[in-house]
Amino acid sequence: MGLVLTEEQTLLRDSARDFIQDKSPVSAFRALRDAGNEDGYSKELWQGMAEMGWAGMLIPEEHGGLDFGFQGMGIVMEEAGRTLTASPLLASVVLGGSAIVLAGSDAQEKDILPKLATGEILLALAVDEGAHHAPERIMMSATRDGDGFVLNGEKTAVLDGHIADKVIVAARTSGTPSQPGVTPEGLTLFVVDGDAQGLTKTRRDMVDHRNSDTLTFDNVRVSADAVLGGVDEGGHLLNMVLDRGRVALAAEMLGSMSQVFQLTLDYLKERRQFGQLIGSFQSLQHRAAHMFSEIELSKSAVLAALTAIEEDKANASQLASLAKAVVNEAYHLISKEGVQMHGGIGMTDEHDIGFYLKRARVTEHALGSTKYHRARYADLSGY
């Protein structure tokens, strides 16, 4: 069933953990933040990740990738999440990479995948247009113009958008908005150069200091070979790509929440009040045990979703929504409880736990809130 790691996967996890703990502890993220780094990630660290082969994890060997599979991707995401590692893994490797691998023409594959596999270029996926994730409601227009198309509209919350060399953008070539669980019709995906004329990329300064950017398309002209997959057929592709992103993000969040929980548990075993370790107070014990059970449920949901995507199961979308929603709720709770159980020290910028709290809400929201995925799960389940 794939709910337990294979030997090969265990090896991958150990090497990922070693690399992350060594090269990208939370202090690395803090340094990045303190430096006011406008890229939102460390190029040096990214180089190291690429050398580990992570940029090419999902890319076929013929294009220079490792093709380690989606479960392997999840393992790396989880380890990166433990230390809040800022990197283009989600935006470029998972979202961008999956789109090309799933639907790229020969030319697109040859053009993009080898450079993506080495980490040389970065991709981003531009979907949402408001403050909430809603791929079904895309209104950005792509109008036919001779052989090509003209793109107009604004995209929000584009993960790593302002640093992307190429942006994959979802626009409407026909049709109207649909419901969350229904494949949107009339959408087309385009691969647009990051420096295309008429494209403006603005970094937004988010509470988690990661990249969630605004991209404005003002009469951006693209040729016919910029189309990814078929015209008007982008809805299904977008679903598949987004599901990969959701599950990879859920894996990252699982790593983060596990770390918050561990930090908190350590603190419960070390901090004394009233002559007692605070972890000996029953009310905190019960709350900790409850959090533990939420983590266990989350872990199962993430592993099942990773497997379903890897094996291209029919219920992959349902499991993706399950994983994202369950993880959203658990990370929400645990990041809140983590701060509360740390007391005053948890409120200080000096302590790492605040970073997790901030990142928790951003990731909770990204690629679909709990509410969104509950509605989608219900749709997919037929009620």
Binding site: V4, A289, K371, Y383
Partner: protein, 395 residues
């Protein structure tokens, strides 16, 4: 593998011949076959099916043949279960003997005891009940006071048990008794005796749901031969804990609302309406999805634990989480159903309600015991906090 193909073929043929047609249909709760001397199944096929499966040892397929079991290995058992599933055969026997007592007898009993008790369990001849809880010792099980005092070749037992499941239908009891009052956990022994022994009386407890699955059980100078003690004198606590693990696993994975598991969405749709295939009320729809997602994640977790166990990991700790999550999840399922059904989910009896609706009311009330029986939610959280998370008591 060829051997399994052969086994599958044999099994398939045997089932074809021996499983009565009526045993291949869905089973109502009152058709469950519990076996024992007082069994009085309304469908005679139930008895036939039990006798045939019992004779094969297939009520306990992996127990050794010498004790009446099926003697199958893992793979053969898997084949058997698949074939039973394929023809939708009913379980031939529900039994605390199979689920709880048997495994500890296999581990702790003497050869004579195994010979005496295991085959009866396999054949469903004796129905067992469990003498654990006492009025003053609920969560604090080891605080039990029922005394067993040595007298020649016997113990003489005096005291009272409570929450004895179906004691009024049971033939024998496996019972925890105090054999040393100077110490707590080290003064408990595990003993078996016939419920028809002089001095044993039972009194059903009526529950808020209206049913009486439990009894109070009284022991007044009950004489039990020493040969019926399992394990060593004062060594009962270890056995008790092992047995509880079997109970918790059983309650959490199989025990809860499996029968009602189908149809939450449908019941809600029926009672709050639907629009375009969706539950019409978005708030109810959100809550149904939340409930179903928890159940989904829970079932994936049970599966993961099984896979981990197969892969050689430890299961002990996880079983405590199952009990906690399973109990709270089942309670919230029925609270949700009651809310969705409104007045129709709050009927007691009579024509105003159909059987699905009345079932919701009764199961809702029944579910409140999920977080009490077999270890309360509070105890389970304590166990997770201490054993799994390593948090300690006040020093």
């Amino acid at each position: 593998m060829a051997t399994h193909d052969a086994f599958r073929e044999e099994t398939c043929a045997w089932l074809e011949e021996n499983c009565p047609a009526s045993m291949r249909t869905p089973m109502a709760e009152d058709e469950v076959m519990w076996g024992g001397r007082k069994a009085d199944p309304k469908n005679p096929d139930s008895k036939l099916w039990l006798d045939r499966m019992g004779a094969q040892g297939w009520t306990a397929p992996m127990w050794p043949k010498e004790y009446g079991g099926g003697g199958l290995n893992k793979e053969e058992n898997k084949v058997l279960q698949e074939e039973l599933g394929r023809i939708k055969a009913r379980p031939p026997l529900f039994s605390f003997g199979l689920w709880m007592l048997g495994p500890v007898l296999l581990e702790y009993a003497t050869e004579e005891q195994k010979q005496q008790f295991l085959p009866q369990i396999v054949r469903g001849e004796i129905r067992w009940c469990q003498g654990y809880s006492e009025p003053g010792a609920g969560s604090d099980l080891a605080g039990l006071q029922t005394r067993a005092i040595e007298d020649g070749d016997d113990y003489v037992i005096n005291g009272q048990k409570v929450w004895t499941s179906y004691a009024n239908y049971a033939d024998w009891i496996f019972c925890l008794v105090r054999t040393d009052t100077s110490t707590k956990h080290e003064g408990i022994s595990f003993i078996l005796f016939d419920m028809e022994t002089e001095g044993v009386t039972t009194k059903p407890i009526k529950l808020i749901s209206g049913s009486s699955p439990f009894c109070e059980t009284f022991f007044d100078d009950v004489r039990v031969p020493k040969s019926q003690m399992v394990g060593r004198l004062n060594g009962g606590w270890e056995i008790a804990k092992k047995l509880l693990q079997h109970e918790r696993t059983n309650i959490s994975s199989g025990g809860f609302g499996a029968s009602a598991s189908a149809g939450l969405e449908q019941l809600v749709k029926d009672h709050v309406g639907e629009e375009g295939g969706r539950i019409a009320d978005p708030l109810m729809r959100d809550r149904v999805a939340k409930q179903k997602m928890t159940e989904h994640a829970f079932s994936l977790t049970v599966r993961r634990a099984t896979e981990e166990a197969k892969a050689g990991g430890e299961v002990g700790a996880a079983s405590s989480i199952f009990k906690y999550v399973g109990a709270e999840m089942n309670k919230s399922r029925y609270e949700l159903l009651v809310e969705a059904l409104g007045d129709q989910g709050l009927g007691w009896e009579g024509d105003g309600f159909n059987s699905d609706e009345l079932n919701v009311t009764r199961q809702w009330l029944r579910s409140k015991a999920n977080s009490i029986e077999g270890g309360t939610t509070e105890i389970n959280l304590n166990v997770v906090a201490k054993r799994v998370l390593g948090l300690r008591d006040h020093q």
